[in-house]
């Protein structure tokens, strides 16, 4: 049985009195240890899918329908309390802008420890120890000292590492990464992607990776779903979709990428 199964997911908003169908009947499945990428351009509905899965979209104004089954639970109809334990616990999120995801007035340590306390039950020294372990694991040097730092003392890349530590510390089965490297410089981007890939492989994590960059998808994902105007227009193994794109929209994305490939830099 797949870890996550989404059937006919629909999300609508109202804009100036007019209904807008942001997600228009999306279905897909995600196996344990599998990375599925959602690609598409701004407004194609990728992020709405990611947020609707755990009812993170405020309802109203949004209306959400369909079926989302995760590890045996029906996420769209279950009561809020058990859903809260799943959010940030079994299903963790990492977003594009680490600076706005972190609380500016709490120390890094307080924020990582809070997640650990909420989702693993560890307290006190145990929570601190776990925080140090995770921060070290995502590549924060002298993590013990950095527990007392505030987010503004960290660079964008380090902030995203902290976000990953917080996400992973809850021992999720599914990580939803929404454009996790888009806001970062290219030299940092490649480091964070490497970290994501290594964590995914060693922990056999399932991942829903949202990106507009086909090269990012190629490096990390097993399968790719191409979204356009709220619908999945193409879904298949990454190698196959990139080699023989069936949908004109996928072909256009690939042409745009080819126009900007470093020809002479390729080995």
């Amino acid at each position: 049985m797949p870890l996550l199964s989404v059937k006919d997911l629909r999300v609508a908003y109202t804009q100036e009195g007019e209904p807008v169908r942001a997600v228009d009947g999306v279905s897909f499945e995600l196996e344990r240890g599998e990375v599925l990428a959602l690609v598409g351009e701004s407004g194609s509905g990728k992020s709405s899918v990611a947020l609707a899965l755990t009812r993170l979209l405020p309802i109203p104004p949004a209306t959400v329908s369909g079926l989302v089954r995760f590890d045996g639970a029906d996420l769209l109809s279950m009561p809020l309390e058990p859903l809260r334990a799943i959010r940030g616990g079994k299903i963790a999120y990492v977003f594009q802008e680490p600076a706005t995801s972190l609380n500016p007035v709490l120390t890094i340590g307080e924020q990582v420890e809070e997640t650990i306390q909420l989702h693993t039950g560890a307290r006190g020294v145990g929570a601190t120890q776990a925080a140090v372990e995770w921060l070290t694991r995502v590549g924060i040097a002298s993590a013990e000292e950095r527990l007392h730092s505030y987010p503004h003392e960290f660079s964008g890349g380090m902030q995203q590492r902290v976000m990953l530590a917080m996400a992973m510390a809850a021992r999720p089965a599914l990580l939803i990464a929404d454009e996790p490297t888009t806001a970062l410089d290219v030299t940092i981007q490649v480091q964070i992607l490497r970290l994501l890939r290594d964590l995914q492989r060693t922990l056999n994590l399932s991942m829903l990776l949202i990106s507009h960059d086909l090269t990012v998808v190629e490096r990390i994902a097993h399968r790719v779903a191409v979204m356009s105007e709220g619908a999945i227009v193409e879904l298949g193994p990454v190698a196959q979709v990139l080699k023989q794109p069936a949908h004109p929209y996928t072909q256009a994305l690939l042409r745009a990428r080819a126009a900007m490939t470093l020809r002479s830099a390729r080995p």
Binding site: E41, R137, L262, A265
Partner: protein, 267 residues
């Protein structure tokens, strides 16, 4: 040899020390440090570097939007800081600029027609204004139907096209493009790059294309200049720079842009 359209000779920009909120003093920052660079007729130069390296400050120095702390900017061989009145207006006309966020660089209350008419009025461009605006829209591949639109009624790519048309209105010899595709979707960005390529060729217009994305820069420009921490670290023809980067930082940028995750050390 005719003088360069635009030339920076040993240009530096230092921001003064500043008191920090909550105490302490931020040291003086050398945003641009002894940069020498020339842009000649019909040349396309890409300026690449990561956030905070001084790209935008350099662009502002080159068009006189900010004054250098040391060094000299020459426009067609004449020191920019000595130009006044009609001479300054003429110099500014020859070098135009487009920006990253076309929404913030267009007046939200002005229609496309008004936006394009403004530079014609300021620079007293003779001729039938209506016909000129029509031609400008055509040159950026937009129909006459766009005349009456407001910025909010345009997509990101269309707004950037209007920004380009506004720059073209005064028939500049050079166009400075500061991250013109950074806020756009990949396929839209590729179209803007194509448009700039065509315009530069048709009009024999020089381009200084500033971007953090070495892929975009390499696809458009015949020469690449790499900037790091306020300094130019490499300046070479594109093919040569891609095939055989001399500076280790250029090599790092190229490796990173290829998103070769296995080249990044694991944690």
């Amino acid at each position: 040899m005719t003088p360069a359209l635009l030339e920076a000779i040993g240009v530096s920009k230092t921001f003064a020390p500043r008191e920090r909120w909550g105490g302490g003093v931020r040291a003086a920052v050398a945003a641009v440090h002894e940069v020498t660079l020339a842009l000649r007729t019909g040349e396309t130069i890409g300026l690449v570097g990561e956030s905070g390296c001084g790209k935008t400050t350099l662009a502002k120095l080159l068009v006189g939007l900010t004054a250098p702390s040391a060094g000299e900017v020459l426009m067609q061989g004449r020191p920019l800081r000595r130009l006044r009145g009609p001479e300054l207006l003429k110099a500014r006309r020859s070098v135009q600029m487009i920006f990253q966020d076309p929404m913030n660089s267009l007046n939200p209350r002005m229609t496309v027609e008004e936006t394009l008419a403004e530079p014609l009025l300021i620079h007293r461009v003779a001729g039938d204004r209506r016909a000129r605006i029509q031609a400008l829209l055509e040159s950026v591949r937009l129909s006459a139907a766009y005349r009456s639109r407001l910025p909010r009624e345009l997509s990101g790519g269309e707004r950037q096209r209007i920004g380009i048309a506004r720059a073209l209105a005064v028939e500049p010899d050079a166009l400075l493009c500061d991250e013109p595709i950074a806020s756009l979707d990949v396929s839209v960005g590729a179209q803007i790059v194509e448009l700039l390529r065509a315009l530069a060729r048709e009009r024999r217009m020089a381009l200084l294309f500033i971007s953090h994305d070495i892929r975009a820069v390499a696809s458009l420009c015949e020469r690449i200049v790499v900037m790091r921490q306020g300094r130019l670290v490499e300046d070479a023809p594109t093919d040569q720079l891609l095939a055989k980067p001399c500076d280790p930082y250029t090599a790092l940028l190229l490796r990173s842009a290829a998103l070769d995750l296995d080249a990044v050390p694991a944690l």
